[in-house]
């Protein structure tokens, strides 16, 4: 079984599904959305991160590096072309300013980490959320985790981009999943390809098939749309999504307002940020815009429930 790298296991999360939850972030994603707010989750392999805020400038990493990839003369500090990802600098760094993103973890290790919070899941109706990156890139591994959690009586939720093989998903994932959050980002296939790197036909098809299955019970699926200024929050796009959902009798959607915090992360990964300082993508969404977006859904069908 090919096992994924884990970026983080975040406990006490209150925003990724019902109740108090632990969220497991997988590394790697088949999409490449330009606004991705977890830039560290895109690449499936381990990466070196450098956090300038934490660095005290002791310089011991510079001595440690065998290939001379670290230098104060470099704005990014790390020369990614030279770096061999040996991570000996990270192991030596006293503050954690240099760190390895993406850890190998066995299923047992992951389960042990999340199980300790089971009492909190139980009393709050919470559970475990798989996120990323894209957790379905590693269906076997994910399936094993889900099965163990299910047997332990823990509520499971998957946050997915929807870009996966349906049959495999149905066979290995669905039996152990209570809830699915699936993103419908852009309705127009060309736009989708342009901003997210892949065509959306598979995503929409997977969504409809899962939605139909969910009516028979056993799990829930909720669509989500990120509201990215000028890209996804256009009337055209949202109306198209709303129509699509309406025609499939979907009564609920979660709207996720633009989160600009990710821009900060780009520096530490050595990615040059393609959005300028004054780009609307670098700002939080205005409440008025949020309301207008909600209205598009609610106006089309008053039984709609939009939440964020």
């Amino acid at each position: 079984m090919r096992s994924p790298l884990i970026i983080d296991i975040k406990g006490n999360s209150l925003d990724d599904g019902p109740g108090i939850r632990s969220v497991i972030f997988f590394k790697g994603c088949p999409l490449s959305c330009v606004w991705c707010h977890n830039p560290e989750s895109r690449h499936p392999l381990a990466e070196l991160s450098f956090d300038l805020q934490k660095c005290i400038g002791c310089g011991s990493c510079i001595e440690k590096c065998q290939v001379g990839a670290l230098s104060r003369d470099n704005v990014f500090f790390v020369d990614r072309k030279k770096c061999t990802l040996c991570f000996s600098c990270a192991a030596d760094c006293p503050t954690g300013a240099l760190s390895r993103i993406g850890q190998k973890m066995t299923q047992e290790e992951i389960i042990e980490k999340v199980l300790k919070d089971k009492p909190f899941f139980d009393s709050s109706g919470g559970g475990v959320t798989f996120s990323g990156g894209e957790p379905t890139l590693h269906m076997d591994f994910l399936s094993g985790l889900l099965k163990t959690l299910k047997e332990a009586g823990i509520h499971t939720l998957i946050e997915t981009c929807g870009y996966f093989n349906f049959d495999e998903f149905k066979r290995t994932i669905l039996p152990y999943t209570d809830m699915i959050y699936m993103d419908i980002k852009l309705f127009d296939p060309e736009q989708h390809e342009r901003y997210c790197g892949v065509d959306n036909a598979l995503i929409l098809e997977n969504f409809i098939r899962l939605h139909k299955l969910s009516i028979q019970g056993g799990f829930e699926i909720i669509p989500r749309s990120p509201l990215i200024p000028g890209i996804t929050d256009t009337e055209e796009n949202l109306t198209a999504i709303a129509r699509f959902l309406k025609s499939n009798q979907v009564k609920e959607i979660r709207l996720l307002p633009n989160n600009p915090a990710w821009h900060e992360k780009c520096f530490s990964l050595g990615i040059s940020d393609r959005f300028m300082e004054d780009s609307p993508l670098r700002k939080w969404l205005q409440p008025a815009v949020m309301e207008a977006c909600q209205c598009i859904f609610e106006c089309l069908n008053d039984s709609y429930e939009t939440w964020n």
Binding site: D15, I20, C58, S60, T95, D117, F120, D122, N308
Partner: protein, 1021 residues
């Protein structure tokens, strides 16, 4: 809490004078310190010897008010003595043995710096041992009073300067707040949404919506009025002289050591007669609009009793500076200053607890440690009354019935010894005295009613009078009678004992039977609704009465227990003696009053018994906590039961437990508990172990030699642990010795016959509380700095002995240099080793090992009453106080920084609150038998609804307690709100925060502590 030697630039006037003289310039070259000292003292002397107004200040009602004070530097390079004797002032250039008190400066430099220091700097100097006192602390206060008369104006200038500097810095901090209007609205909007409930607990018999969501503050004009008068009062409290004057008058008239016939006074009889004298003569006051008669002081809104034998004795030097100090300014009249200075304080100068302790023990090691602030504070120098009396005894029997019980015991026990006879007689005198006070109040109520124009108020006053004629002499039969009887007895108890207590106990359990009986007499739903509303109103009066007294606190106390009220606790919820759910109508009514009153005192506590109490009840507790921001504090029954039954106490009694003072457990009506007798700095022995017995900051080689790091004496971690344990036990032993010495002083000088009436077995045994009369006898300790010690030990164990990342010598060197020489190591120790609160098993094991070691030591000691010592892990404000006297630690905590409050994990332990909750719940409760204080600062998300926030708090609390958690206190507040409150306090007068056990108004906190609260880890909901 004592001692305020010369501070700030109080001698600026003198320095200015000297600076221009050639003599001074010469002195500067050669004998600067000696010249300054002599010059300073000479200046004071000449003023007093030539000014008749000043001479008049030296004359008291019992003769001249004399004092002799030595001042010197530790190395003896500068010294001198000033003697105020019989109206003249003399100087000596040496210090005679018989001097009343001596101020000792660590270095000659400190002497100079102290003269020019701001108040904050001066207190830092005291608290860091750069200035210390030996001798009679109350008389140092007198000396300060005299000095203040001359340079008071300069002192005030320096205070004012500091206040304006703080304001300026606070305004700058406030600028970091992005949106101040969100902050200000957030607080008030919490009160607007009211959750309803239709779920009814089995013990709730009348309330259809136990959350009482129909009522808001606007429905209770009386509570609104009290609230407004309370929060808009000009000064923190009025210093009242009534109590001090009456108790002094009594002893002047009837004697102290011997009575006026020359016979040795029996301490109990003396105490009882003095109480009677006071209660007969004190002014009976019914506050305008109040439903309850009686006050603690002559100021019905907020006053200080100021017991001169205890806490009052530390305030002499500040009588004239109280009014304009930065923290907790008091109002004080010239008349009160004159009475306290000339009449009251001179009488108690050698009869206060602290001085009796010093003179009786020949200034032994315990009092020396106490006076140097760095490791043990003996709270008995202030009080011994953290006890929950059995209020039901008075409600059930009336004072009349109790007198009969005591008389019967007296008559039936033929073998009664002299002590028993005297103790029981004293009890009767006390109970009769209560009746006299109640009758005086009844007469006053009648008088007030007669002249009252408003017919509604007239009826209320007549009703009050009717109640007072009946109770507390006779048994109470209604809620009104029961509450009036309780508060009168409480007022009288604070006339006998210090007023940091006694507690009110399980008010919901006490009042529910009367509430049921009253409600059953009513027939229509309307009548019942009106009565529920009346009960809320009545308890509003009770809450504002309890809040109306403040402990007379010297300025240095504002550093030690900044913002602390007397902490009269009320406990609700939990189970009854049979283990059944005890939540009832009164539980919810009291929670409603807590919400409406918005007070830090009474200090509110809610017990949660997993499995017995409903989730709905816990939700309401969390709701009130969210609305008020900080209260009530929540306790888990399972952990407390495990801790207390471990003492062999029967489960039926344990099920009745209440929180005392801050959080400490006590069995109401049975337990002589003195739960905050000792405040121990656990980091001091760690520092002593690192320094072979020497305490670094005080430079005092006090502990045993346990090995030198530089000498290579520690090959294994166990060896270092043994050194720590040895230093620990050395200090703990001294804590026991000193506490027991103080206990004996209370036996001889300040017994508590009235309080003893309300504790089981005292009557039968014929022994008061101080003599071990109570059914349960224990002494409570609070141990401060657990997380800092555990994390320090973990760093030492892992990095020095296991991973060998650093040698012990290098680590020690880094600590000694405050990590200045080794920033890499500083970063490393902060990140590499898992801390307590991170979920790491080894860290928990270490925490259990440390708590176990301290607990096992104390549980095997015996106090002066034959009881055990119990160990608690809460800190009041001492985590900041002791932090100041502590150097850098292996954890990377820098010198002077506060420890974590109570046993709260360090903010860096984990970003996941659940790790904190889980770790604290995993501590062995048996080692926490005087409870804990675990702070959790919670920040709601901007778009979270009231219900979602309350639900999340409820889930945290429920799970934590089901996992065996003992206590937690939520502060639901954002850092932005705190910063805005720092900059703009006028918007946040009632903003409450939990410090460590007690609740304080944020804007009234000492600034270091405000910053500490801001720095705490915050967990977003």
């Amino acid at each position: 809490m004592q001692n305020q030697p010369i501070r700030n630039n109080r001698i600026q006037e003198y320095i200015n004078l000297l600076a221009s003289s050639s003599q001074f310039l010469a002195g500067k070259l050669l004998y600067k310190q000696q010249m300054l000292l002599q010059g300073f003292l000479g200046y004071i002397a000449s003023k007093f010897n030539t000014n008749s107004a000043l001479q008049n200040e030296m004359k008291g009602t019992q003769g001249w008010i004399n004092v002799s004070v030595g001042m010197k530097s530790e190395d003896d390079s500068a010294k001198g003595t000033i003697i105020f004797k019989d109206g003249t002032v003399k100087l000596l250039n040496y210090i005679p043995n018989e001097v009343d008190c001596t101020l000792i400066f660590s270095t000659p430099k400190d002497l100079i710096e102290q003269m020019d220091a701001s108040p904050d700097e001066a207190y830092r100097m005291i608290l860091t041992g750069r200035v210390r006192t030996e001798g009679n602390i109350m008389l140092i206060g007198l000396f300060n009073y005299y000095v203040n008369l001359i340079v008071g104006r300069d002192q005030q200038k320096s205070v004012d300067k500091q206040i304006s500097e703080h304001k300026k810095a606070n305004k700058i901090a406030g600028k970091e707040v992005a949106n101040t209007s969100i902050c200000r609205n957030e607080q008030s909007s919490r009160k607007i949404t009211r959750l309803r409930s239709t779920l009814i607990d089995p013990g709730v018999m009348f309330l259809e919506d136990p959350f009482l969501s129909n009522y808001g503050l606007e429905d209770f004009p009386r509570i609104q009025r009290f609230r407004s008068e309370y929060f808009n009062r000009k000064k923190e409290a009025v210093v009242c002289h009534e109590y001090g004057k009456l108790i002094t008058d009594f002893h002047l008239e009837y004697g102290y050591d011997v009575d006026n016939k020359g016979k040795t006074w029996d301490p109990n009889l003396r105490k009882a007669e003095s109480l009677k004298y006071i209660l007969e003569r004190r002014k009976p006051i019914i506050r305008e609009d109040d439903l309850l008669a009686g006050t603690y002081t002559t100021d019905p809104v907020s006053g200080c009793i100021g017991h001169p034998f205890a806490v009052g004795c530390y305030s002499w030097g500040e009588l004239r500076s109280f009014a304009n100090r930065e923290l907790m300014p008091y109002e004080i009249s010239e008349e009160t200053i004159q009475i306290l200075h000339k009449h009251v304080f001179p009488f108690w100068a050698r009869r206060n607890i602290h001085e009796l302790w010093r003179s009786n023990t020949g200034n032994g090691l315990p009092i020396q440690i106490h006076d140097r602030f760095f490791s043990i504070f003996y709270w008995k120098t202030v009080s011994m009354s953290e006890i929950t009396p059995g209020h039901e005894k008075i409600l059930k029997h009336g004072t009349k019935g109790m007198i009969k019980i005591i008389r019967d015991e007296l008559n039936n026990d033929y073998k009664a010894d002299e002590e028993k006879k005297n103790t029981l007689k004293a009890m009767i005198i006390c109970l009769e005295a209560i009746n006299i006070y109640a009758k005086n109040l009844a007469q006053q109520a009648a008088k007030d009613a007669q002249i009252e124009k408003n017919p509604k108020r007239k009826m209320e006053l007549e009703q009050i009078k009717k109640i007072l004629v009946k109770v507390p002499e006779n048994p109470s039969t209604t809620v009104d009678e029961a509450v009036q009887a309780m508060i009168i007895v409480h007022l009288c108890l604070t006339m006998e004992n210090s007023d940091d207590g006694p507690m009110l106990g399980r008010l919901d359990q006490i009042l529910q039977p009367y509430f049921i009986s009253d409600m059953n007499k009513l027939s229509t739903p309307e009548e019942k609704e009106i009565y529920v509303k009346h009960t809320i109103d009545l308890l509003g009066s009770l809450f504002y009465r309890v809040a109306s007294h403040q402990i007379l606190i010297p300025d240095i106390g504002n550093w030690q227990n900044s913002g602390s009220a007397p902490n009269t606790t009320i406990t609700v919820g939990g189970v009854d003696r049979d283990g059944e759910d005890a939540v009832n109508d009164m539980t919810y009514i009291i929670l409603k009053v807590t919400e409406l009153a918005g007070l830090n005192d009474p200090n509110m506590h809610a017990r949660y018994n997993p499995g017995k109490n409903s989730l709905n009840y816990l939700k309401r507790v969390c709701d009130v906590n969210y609305i008020t921001g900080a209260t009530p504090c929540i306790h888990g029954d399972d952990a407390m039961f495990a801790a207390l039954t471990n003492h062999g106490w029967p489960i039926e009694d344990v099920r009745n437990w209440v929180a005392n003072g801050c959080v400490e457990p006590s069995i109401p009506g049975k337990h002589s508990s003195a739960t905050s007798s000792l405040e121990i700095n656990l980091v001091a022995p760690l520092e002593m172990a690192l320094n072979n017995g020497k305490h670094p900051l005080t430079k005092w080689e006090i502990g045993p030699g346990t090995g030198s790091i530089n000498g290579g004496d520690f090959i294994t971690f166990d060896q270092f642990w043994n050194a720590f344990e040895k230093q620990c036990k050395f200090l703990l032993e001294l804590s026991v010795v000193g506490n027991n010495q103080l206990g004996e002083i209370y036996q001889k000088h300040q017994p508590a016959p009235l309080l003893s009436v309300l504790i089981d077995d005292c009557i039968e045994k014929g022994r008061g509380l101080t003599r071990g009369g109570g059914h349960y006898n224990s002494t409570g300790v609070s141990v401060i700095g657990l997380a800092d010690v555990v994390d320090s030990l973990m760093v030492t164990k892992k990095l020095v002995f296991e991973e060998k990342v650093v040698t012990f010598k290098d680590l020690k060197e880094a600590i000694d240099s405050n990590f200045y020489n080794n920033p890499k190591l500083h970063a490393l120790v902060k990140t590499r080793v898992p801390r307590f609160g991170s979920g790491n098993n080894e860290a928990i094991e270490m925490a259990n090992k440390v708590t176990g070691m301290v607990h096992d030591y104390y549980i095997n000691q015996r106090n002066y009453r034959g009881g055990i010592y119990t160990t608690g892990w809460w800190s009041m404000a001492n985590h900041a106080v002791y932090g100041r006297v502590t150097g850098a630690l292996p954890t990377g905590r820098l010198a002077g920084e506060p420890f974590t409050p109570g046993l709260t994990p360090h903010p860096s332990a984990s970003v996941n609150l659940l790790d904190n909750l889980r770790d604290v719940a995993r501590l062995d409760p048996r080692n926490l038998d005087n409870n804990i204080a675990f702070n959790v600062k919670i920040v709601p998300g901007a778009s979270d609804t009231h219900e979602k926030i309350v639900d999340t708090l409820t889930h945290y609390a429920k799970t934590y307690f089901e996992m065996g958690g003992m206590q937690t206190q939520f502060n639901v507040v954002t850092t932005d709100i705190l910063k805005d409150a720092l900059a703009n306090p006028e918007y946040y007068q009632d903003l409450m925060v939990r410090i460590s056990g007690y609740v304080a108004y944020f804007t009234k906190l000492q600034r270091d502590l405000q910053l500490e609260v801001i720095r705490r880890a915050e967990y977003r909901i």
